[in-house]
């Protein structure tokens, strides 16, 4: 039962092959047996999950259930859930029980989905390895000495280890795509503004975007149908109409023009990972796509631009954590200044504090023009490179990451080497474009991902290409060998 995709679960539930309660219990059992070693979940609430499952079963029995009723799903612990702890991977929010649900959570509830639990993540979504979580890192199910990626590492690991059929994630600079690649699953970061940010703890508001993480492109399409749409409560929520993302999955790729940026295939890309990507591109070519070399001439500005824009926005967003209204408060503050400074010293982890300090510096008087304004100008150049490419091609393809998952601790002492992990994913966030990672091979037994980047609101084209790729390959069906044995 736990090896089903969302699509086959919907079929099984509607054909009464199993109930949502049976299904939910099977995943809760799987979580109980594996989470102690993999640390994918921060919070699991079995009573809440079973109650939701029974409600979905009753709706199905009454014949008035939405399509996804009874499908279990895990949510990244960045989405506010009324009455259930939402930590964002931080000591600062370790005691935070939100009084309201995020719009995304409400949408999944309205579609009858069952929340299994809240997944582990880098603190405030800042990180590429999950090692910045206050709760300790989630581990990669393919090799538990390796990181699952980040920041949505718990979600990726949970789906890979069959603890959930699908999960939500958020992606500010690669936080859906990179862990999806490292854990051998399929993940989609939609266009900026496509999915509501209301109730999603803010990191960098002009970059943050929520999206689905699942085994297949078809499942991502089913989930995006639930997630996407305008929300008056989010001032940057897009008003563009939402298509049925499953409707175009079966389209032929005949004539699809795929751009390959030379900058994504140069020095820095691991040779074996590059070979997997080359093979994946041949598959797309065999299905009718036309491969064309393109150039993103401002690629070398991507990392410095991102590491000014994101920390600057983070320093502003995270100023709300003051120890007064909710969250952590230091003990025995002597005065208000001590309350603020010690609460924030003790409540935030090292990487979060570093980014707040860098962002504060970049926004401070005398440095604003040299850093923040300069980065906003470079950001426009980076976006223009993509818009120029899309004059000639329909989508862009390349590797998601420079290589497969790295060992725990390998980069945690050097923030800049960790930042370089995001070299291929950051640009889609800066330009606001949708991006996907699709399983494309194994290197030394560890998965690597093919990245697809689309035009603004071009999610359908990405899902179509990814689905057609998955019809021709079986990388998305591979599963990690865990101590409790392979799932049949």
């Amino acid at each position: 039962m736990i090896n089903h995709t969302v699509a086959t679960l919907i079929h099984g539930l509607s054909e009464k092959q199993f109930s949502s309660e049976e299904l939910t219990r099977a995943f809760l059992d799987r979580i109980a047996s594996l989470n102690g070693s993999l640390n994918s979940f921060i919070t699991v609430d079995p009573d809440h999950a079973i109650a939701s499952a029974r409600k979905a079963d009753a709706e199905r029995a009454a014949g008035n259930a939405p399509a996804l009723a009874g499908v279990p799903i895990a949510h990244k612990d960045i989405f506010c859930t009324a009455g259930i702890k939402t930590s964002c991977g931080s000591r600062m929010l370790d005691n935070f029980v939100p009084p309201y649900d995020a719009t995304l959570i409400k949408r999944f509830q309205a579609h009858g989905c069952v929340m299994l639990g809240k997944t582990n993540m880098d603190e405030f979504a800042m990180g590429s390895s999950n090692e910045n979580s206050f709760y300790g890192p989630a581990l990669n199910p393919w090799d538990t000495h390796c990181v699952p990626g980040g920041s949505s590492g718990g979600s990726a690991a949970a789906v890979a280890a069959r603890m959930a059929p699908a999960a939500t994630g958020t992606d500010t600079g690669g936080s859906i795509r990179q862990p999806a690649a490292f854990c051998g699953i399929t993940g989609l970061k939609p266009t900026y503004g496509r999915v509501s940010r209301l109730g999603m703890v803010a990191f960098a508001s002009s970059l943050d975007q929520a999206g689905p993480m699942a085994r297949t492109a078809e499942d991502c399409a089913l989930l995006l149908n639930v997630m996407a749409g305008h929300d008056a409560g989010d001032s940057t929520s897009a008003t563009e109409s939402v298509p049925d993302y499953t409707a175009s999955l079966e389209n032929s790729l005949e004539g699809l023009r795929i751009g390959l940026p030379t900058q994504f295939f140069g020095a820095g890309l691991d040779a074996q990972t590059g070979a997997c990507i080359d093979e994946a591109l041949k598959v797309l070519e065999q299905r009718g796509a036309i491969l064309k070399e393109v150039s993103l001439p401002h690629s070398d500005l991507t990392i410095p631009t991102y590491y000014i824009v994101a920390p600057a926005e983070a320093s502003t967003n995270l100023s709300r954590f003051d120890g007064v209204r909710y969250g952590y408060r230091c003990e025995d503050p002597v005065d208000l200044h001590d309350l603020y400074t010690r609460t924030r010293e003790e409540g935030f982890g090292d990487e979060v504090k570093r980014r707040i300090l860098v962002g504060t510096y970049a926004l401070s008087a005398g440095y604003y023009d040299a850093y923040y304004r300069k980065a906003q100008q470079a950001r426009r150049l980076i976006r223009q490179d993509f818009l120029d490419c899309f004059e000639d091609v329909d989508i862009i393809a390349g590797p998601t990451t420079p290589g497969p998952a790295f060992a725990l601790g390998a980069k945690s002492d050097d923030p800049v080497s960790m930042y370089l992990e995001d070299v291929y994913t950051l640009a889609a966030n800066l330009a606001g474009l949708p991006g996907m990672s699709v399983p494309a091979g194994l290197v030394d037994g560890k998965p690597v991902g093919l990245q697809l980047i689309g035009q603004h609101f071009g999610e359908s084209a990405l899902l179509n290409a990814a689905h057609q790729f998955q019809l021709a390959t079986d990388w998305h069906l591979k599963q990690p060998q865990l101590d409790s044995g392979e799932v049949s």
């Binding site: 200044h337 010293e345 980065a375």
Partner: protein
């Protein structure tokens, strides 16, 4: 750009984050390495390029000036670290 420990102390003060004396050297070193990396940007030619704050060039929408939220004072007070009589408590500010 070279950054001194005194610069870190003033940024930390602006950000209201205490950096203890024994951490100051390590924090300065790591912030310096990040700033050295982002300084690559200084070489970029951005003359006459309009800064971009939103990837879709969207601006904040206006809505009708109507009350849409209900009062949830009880719920919000319930999750605060220290409250009394409907007020949020902080250390004494004025003697």
């Amino acid at each position: 750009m070279s950054i001194e420990q005194s610069d870190i102390q003033s940024i930390a003060e602006l950000a209201r984050i205490r950096v203890s004396d024994d951490q100051l050297e390590a924090v300065t070193e790591r912030i310096q390495s990040i700033l050295s990396m982002v300084d690559q940007l200084q070489a970029a030619d951005t003359a006459n390029v309009e800064p971009m704050a939103n990837p879709l060039d969207a601006t904040a929408r206006l809505r009708a000036d109507e009350v849409t939220e209900t009062n949830q004072r009880e719920a919000f007070q319930a999750i605060a670290p220290a409250v009394e009589n409907g007020l949020y408590l902080v250390p004494k500010v004025i003697e």
